[in-house]
Amino acid sequence: MSAVIFFIAAIGAIAGAIGVIAVRNPFYSVLMLIVHLVSLAALFLLLRAEFVAASQVVVYAGAVMVLYLFVVAYVGGGAQLASGPVLRILGPLFALALAVELCIAMLGSTLKGISGKGAHYVLGFGTPRHIGTLFLTKYLFPFEIASIVLLVAAIGAVVLARRRRGLETMGEEQQEYRISAHPPVNTGTIAEGAGIRVPTPEQLEPEVEVIGRPRDGGGW
């Protein structure tokens, strides 16, 4: 049973990863990445890491990828990818370097995982309680460092987003079109209908004051 699930999830993960780089349309590329991430979550689940699997889906598939999809769907698939002679040489070089690095890392572990039976399952492994205890005792320092890095990133995002907004002051173009119009009376509000607010004679003249003027030839 677990072998079947493993192969389904593993095929999903690999196919998704290949799909990300093989598909031309960025929208489908993001979808493939989601398939990959969900398959990874299934693999985590198979390893009894329930909390990691759930956070994988909540954070990556549920939040980060949503933003990716959001942007790609808005921008559309028409954007040309950056390309050029420099990238064409550098790209394979980087890929090769990464592959060599990964091979060294894998062979460096002397491939114990293939012949061994793996770690024993202990009751309570992978639960939030277990992970939380480890975070606050054994891995306290990395945990705090990661928290600070995340905080810096969050503040940085807010600062970057604020600078570009600039909606506080209206631009000249918008000011030109602003009109100050009092709500016309006798248009059938409840107060008028009930005779609570009787319009005075000068209110009966609707008063529309135009600041600036409409663009040439353009109607409202």
Binding site: S2, V58, V66, A73, Y121
Partner: protein, 339 residues
Amino acid sequence: MIPFALVFYYEPWWVQIIKSLVIFALVFAILPMLTVYERKLLGRFQNRYGPNRVGPYGLAQPLAEILKFARKEPFRTVTAVGYLYRVAPMIAILTAVSALALVPFGDVQHIFGQRVGLYGIDVSIGPLYVFAFAGISFYGIMLGGWASGSKYSFLGAMRGAAQLISYEVSQGLSLVGVIMTAGTLSLTGIVHAQAGMWYIVPQIVGFLVFLVASFAETNRAPFDLVEADAELVAGYFTEYGGTPFVAYLFAEYANMIVVSGIATTVFLGGWLLPFGIHPPGWVDPFVVLAKMMLFITFFVWIRATLPRLRYDQLMSFGWKILLPLATLNLLVTAIVVAT
């Protein structure tokens, strides 16, 4: 790799299969009744009868509607993106139904000498499981809107995306207070921890935040901008008809049931009754269902009462009021629990 049998489950596999079938059948029996319940209530709120032609009091209305929907011709727009257009409603309904497995309808019972927990599963990650499926259910909306190839659908899907992301944070944070008080993530554990007092009393702020965020998460009025019919025709399912449309409709109602179930479990004491009443075990599911119906009635009541928000109001409310409130509630709870 560890075989599944090594892991501690006190139920044999066939009990789990029967349980999942029972929960599935129960909910899918309730879902059509909910549609007619909502329309009846809405009718009463608006001083009219609501559906009353098919069957006694119009109770057979959903049967007639499902028959009608099932016999519709499957169609799609010329601009639709083939298989994504078909897959999207399936994602929506699948994730909604999967989240149902977590709602506990009762404690562990002894049925024919077999220990059976009256819930789908009791996972150690509790509400995170629901949020994981809620995160994926977003793709049902997003892909449906995008693959329809229509501007209205696309706009509705985009609104849904922004809305779901914004309110998911507040919804999650509002539950953390309860989790800290109970000291466990397991939903049955949370119910047991409420034996003295339901969490609606000490966690009233968290409850309110959760309730408001739930309206947004289930795309219900007054946060139903996703399907704002005055501006967007019907939002992301504008181009859907027949059974795919029913899938979206049922997904919405199933999400309502899930949210009501979670709120019942986390804030209203699940199957517990006040004043120290301890009914026999078979009453538990009915208590939970009755409490869930309270929430669903509230959902309908709000829909009949409040007008739809504007989009910028929705966003600023979610980020500037709801999220700080949830965070404050979290901080205060943390301080109280720690001391």
